[in-house]
């Protein structure tokens, strides 16, 4: 029973996926994580469709002028605690497209990103790494929300 009250968040991170300026490469690799070979559900990860039920926002691709509103809305509609994972070079920094006219840059220009997954496109293993890292941060955030005063000793 004691184990249940520990790592509450990291046992069941639900993911919502937003495709920004991605070339599909990262998207399909993210989807591949859910398929039998990688089976992210083992780790409690479910791809829920709605941000309202999600804990982790997985973003692939960079921000452009049309999709920043979408990204912001989706982020705002997620309940706390929440974590943002930037998957792929595009989402981290803009990737090859960083100098395109319609690319604002990595999504950290818009949202606070918690985990960066490098690669173009990252292998599913890397994405799973990112999600595991994200669930750890999720748990930290939960504890922080629960005990707001305690601060973190450095």
């Amino acid at each position: 029973m004691a184990g249940i009250s520990k790592n509450i968040m990291s046992k069941s991170p639900w993911v919502v996926h937003v495709n920004c300026n991605s070339c599909n490469g990262c998207d399909i690799e993210f989807l591949a994580c859910l398929t039998p070979i990688y089976d992210a559900e083992r780790l409690g990860i479910i791809n829920v469709g709605t941000p309202k039920q999600a804990d982790i926002l997985v973003v692939t691709g960079s921000a452009n002028y049309k999709n920043i509103d979408v990204l912001k809305n989706i982020y705002n509609q997620m309940p706390e605690p929440k974590v943002v994972v930037a998957v792929g070079a595009c989402a981290c920094t803009g990737g090859v497209f960083h100098s395109c006219y319609n690319v604002i840059g990595g999504i950290d220009e818009i949202l606070p990103v918690d985990v960066y997954v490098p690669g173009c496109c990252p292998k599913p293993e890397s994405i799973i790494d990112g999600l595991i890292e994200a669930s750890r941060i999720l748990e930290e955030k939960r504890i922080k929300i629960k005990n707001p005063d305690k601060g973190v000793a450095i």
Partner: protein, 358 residues
Amino acid sequence: MAKTVIPFGPQHPVLPEPLQLKLVLEDDVVVEAIPAIGYVHRGLEKLTELKDYEQSVYIVERVCGICSFMHSMAYTRGIESIMNIQIPQRAEYIRTILAEIARVQSHLLWLGLLADSFGFESLFMETWRYREDILDIMEMITGNRVIISANKVGGVTKDFTDEHIKFILDTINRLEEKIKDVENVFLNNYTVKQRLAGIGILTPEDARELGALGPIAKGSGIPLDLRTTGYSAYKYLDFEPIVDNHCDSYGRTVVRIKEIYQSFQLIRQAISKLPSGEIFIPVKGLPNGEVISRLEQPRGEAIYYIKTNGTKTLSRLKIRTPTFANIPTLLKMLPGSRLQDVPVIVLTIDPCISCTER
């Protein structure tokens, strides 16, 4: 009649890519569906005017992650044509083989997404599991699973070893068996048939009118397959374009499944004829001229218009991808369909928004 107006996308679980459809429904029947795009517009064509024409290979590869190889192939073939380069035979064959492997990968991916669009989760899982085998081939040969960077102006960067060839043959033999199982499900499962047959009808006339390409045209009985023109190594291979006369979602599914088998066949043929020799020739000078380069992607004909002016950078690159040409068919197929069929119909054009918008 009470109208229902709902946005369908851009962030929507059934759509792997951001596309928005404004659906107007009357009692569950779609009366108006207008696609909104622009969520993945990067402005990549402009970028190639800033980069070295050799670097641009890596950029056009990222037009899209699914048939990224096809894009680099169309692009390099265009530049080679401007520069009058004859690439080695082995390179042509390797390009062809990789292109067909990419086609299998793309079609398997699509089959999975299609299954998902009508709520058949286990079938999605099954097809995507098979797809992993293809990705293993890719990773083994080229070092990456999706964006493989195997082309360069003047040939290819990765050679096949005997071990690779054996691995390819083993894998496709094994897959062919497995795909027969899922084929049976896609084409004969009662529930699946309910969701495909008669859904999203596109008559041959409409298909022509709207400029449908690839499996959509082929699923409506139009044998539009650029490979028959015999570019690259296709001229040495023996095949017939696949057509189907169902003219609906079912027809498109049939075409794509048959194309998988056809691709296996083509891979085997090409491997058996694979010549030895160099895989690229060094390139000198700068391209000057304009060209239209076309090839058959998994979703149909892609058109590359390349204009160069003797400098390192391109002066204009225009990419007309197959999905771009297939989107207008949605305007025809969606009205009159039921809400639950919208995802299925949208999926049957295999919408790749990232290449539509570039």
